[in-house]
């Protein structure tokens, strides 16, 4: 696993004497197959650092090694064809169709037409766009989210090992951004590229990164570690203030419901006998029980008051279960559902809706405490 693909050695970029260098003596290693997020306040030199890797900016001094080869002296255009590059403005060529845009690098590399056409379709499918619908359209016909999907497809066209992404989802509305981030994470599980990802958004960094480098002015690394470790142990005040006050809440997006211990509440099934139900509830430390249908699907939260209300059958008293969680949901989702639920807990079901157990605030707190 300790396989370094990109290494920046002693990199400095300065724009003339008397000015603070944009990047000052940076050493950075990127492991093969990881997503390394560079995050920091604006002007900290994170984009400059990214652009040094594909030499859109030439370093003043230092060395960049990719896959064992010193790339500071090779032909920059040749180098860039082997590195995918995605930017916030996307930068699709407006005079070319989607297919032509995606095939830019393969054409430069001289692939034959059939191979290119097949690759274009494959990539469009990969980014969840129907090839027949979009192949011959022009960029102006796409929404912002679709354009960036094509941007990612274009960057992946020649199957580069390395992908550089400069705030790729920065200009996209929050809902679409969230969806693109999720799609991108799923896609990365398939393609396993080595990705350097720049953002100023710490939440995005935590979500996307296998490791995060928090940068301060001059591209100095304030802390470089996994999101979990950074959230749990910020290295200094700068990192702490950059994480913001909600560090623990942010950490919740990193954990899944399946990480918690599920709690079992009393289970009631139809037909419910009033006395049995009452006994079950009184025997248990919980205030509520859960009514399941014949397929073990949760129906209603039943408490003592509901049982005692004799005016209607138990099956129709209590409060309905409106939302349930799946094991792969994040703890942030769990908190939301719990806060909405009348019972102060949330039931967890498998994908088919079958009841597995409940998450409670206590189990969440226990998990969070175990980290610190």
């Amino acid at each position: 696993m300790n396989d370094v693909l990109i290494r920046l050695e002693n990199i400095t970029k300065s724009y003339g004497a008397g000015m603070e260098p944009a990047v000052n003596n940076l050493d950075l290693e990127v492991q093969r197959g990881e997503v390394l997020v560079l995050v920091g306040p604006s002007g900290c030199g994170k984009s400059t650092t990214l652009r040094l890797i594909n030499r859109l900016i030439e370093p003043t001094s230092g060395k960049i090694v990719i896959d064992g080869e010193d790339v500071t002296t090779v032909n920059p255009s040749q180098l860039r064809r082997k590195i995918g590059y995605v930017i916030q403005q996307v930068g699709l060529f407006p005079h070319r169709t989607i297919a032509e845009n995606i095939s830019t690098v393969p054409v430069l590399l001289g692939w034959d037409k059939k191979k290119i056409a097949a690759r274009v379709d494959e990539l469009l499918e990969l980014v969840s766009m129907d090839p027949d619908t979009y192949r011959d359209r022009y960029p102006k016909e796409l929404s912002g989210g679709q354009a960036q999907r094509v941007g990612v497809a274009r960057a992946l066209a020649a199957d580069p090992d390395v992908l550089l992404m400069d705030e790729p989802f920065g200009a996209i509305d929050p809902i679409t951004r969230d969806r693109l981030q999720n799609e991108f994470l799923r896609l990365q599980q398939d393609v396993k590229k080595t990705i350097v990802f720049v953002t100023h958004d710490i939440d995005e960094a935590i979500k996307m990164g296998n490791r995060i480098a928090i940068l301060r002015e001059g591209s100095q690394i304030a802390q470089l570690d996994t999101p979990e470790a950074i959230l749990a142990h910020p290295a200094d005040e700068f990192v702490e203030s950059f994480l913001g006050s909600g560090a623990i809440l942010k950490g919740l997006t990193l954990k899944k419901v399946s990480d918690t211990e599920l709690h079992q509440v009393p289970i009631l099934r139809q037909p419910v006998m009033r006395e049995d139900a009452l006994k079950a509830l009184q025997d248990s430390p919980d205030q509520v029980g859960l009514l399941l249908d014949s397929n073990d699907k949760p129906l209603r939260w039943i408490d003592e008051k509901a049982i005692n209300r004799t005016s209607q059958p138990i099956e129709r008293s209590g409060r309905p279960v409106t939302v349930d969680l799946q094991p792969e949901d994040t703890l942030q989702d769990a908190i939301t559902v719990m806060l909405q639920s009348s019972a102060g807990m949330a039931c967890v079901t498998d994908r088919r809706g079958k009841y597995l157990g409940c998450t409670t605030i206590e189990s969440l707190a226990k998990l969070i405490m175990s980290d610190n």
């Binding site: 930017i87 005079h95 430069l108 022009y138 274009r154």
Partner: protein, 218 residues
């Protein structure tokens, strides 16, 4: 109405001269526009990286436009003689500015993100120019060419002053013979044929626009 009939009769009674005038006039427009487009686009490309060079070339092209047209047709006679050459040079100098101005504007107006991604994907600077910058600036360049074409169609009538022929011959003859019969007919014929030529050239440029500009940026 009588005047129109007279105009027709006047034109039909001297078909060779009309044809010759139209051909000469069209010849000016075509040769001047092709040369000017080439020179202006090349200048725009060569100066694209230097603000100073851009400003200088634009100033020079503007200076040409400020020279009185009557003078510009005449001042080259000592060097190139009478006829086609002094007219061609004068029209060429006039037609540079709109094309040059638009070439520079077109190249400057390209989205920075498009250029960044082109470079970032590994296009060399020549490839960026040929595959991205020129195609994207082309609609703007073509608009400049259209302005120049109108300018040249009108000004080419002055070629007659330096024995350069063209539709201006009809206007000059008419002027010289005022108010004798057929003098107004002659002036009107030259003017109307210039107008018709202008419309036809505009249509050709429109067709060129449709044929050469990608659907993605129309």
């Amino acid at each position: 109405m009588d005047f129109l009939i007279g105009l027709f009769e006047f034109a039909l009674s001297r078909p060779e001269r009309v044809l010759e005038g139209v051909i000469q006039h069209t010849g000016y427009v075509a040769s001047v526009l092709v040369t000017a487009a080439f020179l202006a686009v090349v200048t725009g490309i060569l100066t694209r990286k230097s603000q100073l060079a851009k400003e200088l070339s634009l100033s020079l092209a503007s200076v040409f436009l400020t020279i009185p047209s009557l003078a510009l047709f005449v001042i080259f006679i000592p060097f190139v003689g009478l006829g086609f050459a002094p007219s061609f040079i004068a029209l060429l100098l006039y037609s540079l500015l709109p094309i040059l101005r638009n070439t520079i504007t077109g190249l400057e107006g390209i989205d920075a993100g498009v250029l960044e991604s082109a470079k970032g994907m590994g296009l060399s600077s020549t490839q960026v120019l040929l595959k991205v910058q020129l195609p994207l600036a082309w609609p703007v360049i073509l608009a400049g060419l259209r302005v120049s074409s109108m300018l040249v169609v009108g000004l080419a009538a002055l070629a007659t002053l330096v024995a350069g022929g063209g539709l201006g011959d009809f206007i000059k003859d008419g002027l010289a013979r005022l108010p004798l019969p057929n003098s107004y007919e002659s002036i009107w014929l030259g003017t109307l044929l210039s107008l018709v030529l202008a419309v036809i050239i505009d249509l050709i440029l429109q067709a060129l626009r449709l044929a050469t500009i990608s659907k993605g940026i129309r």
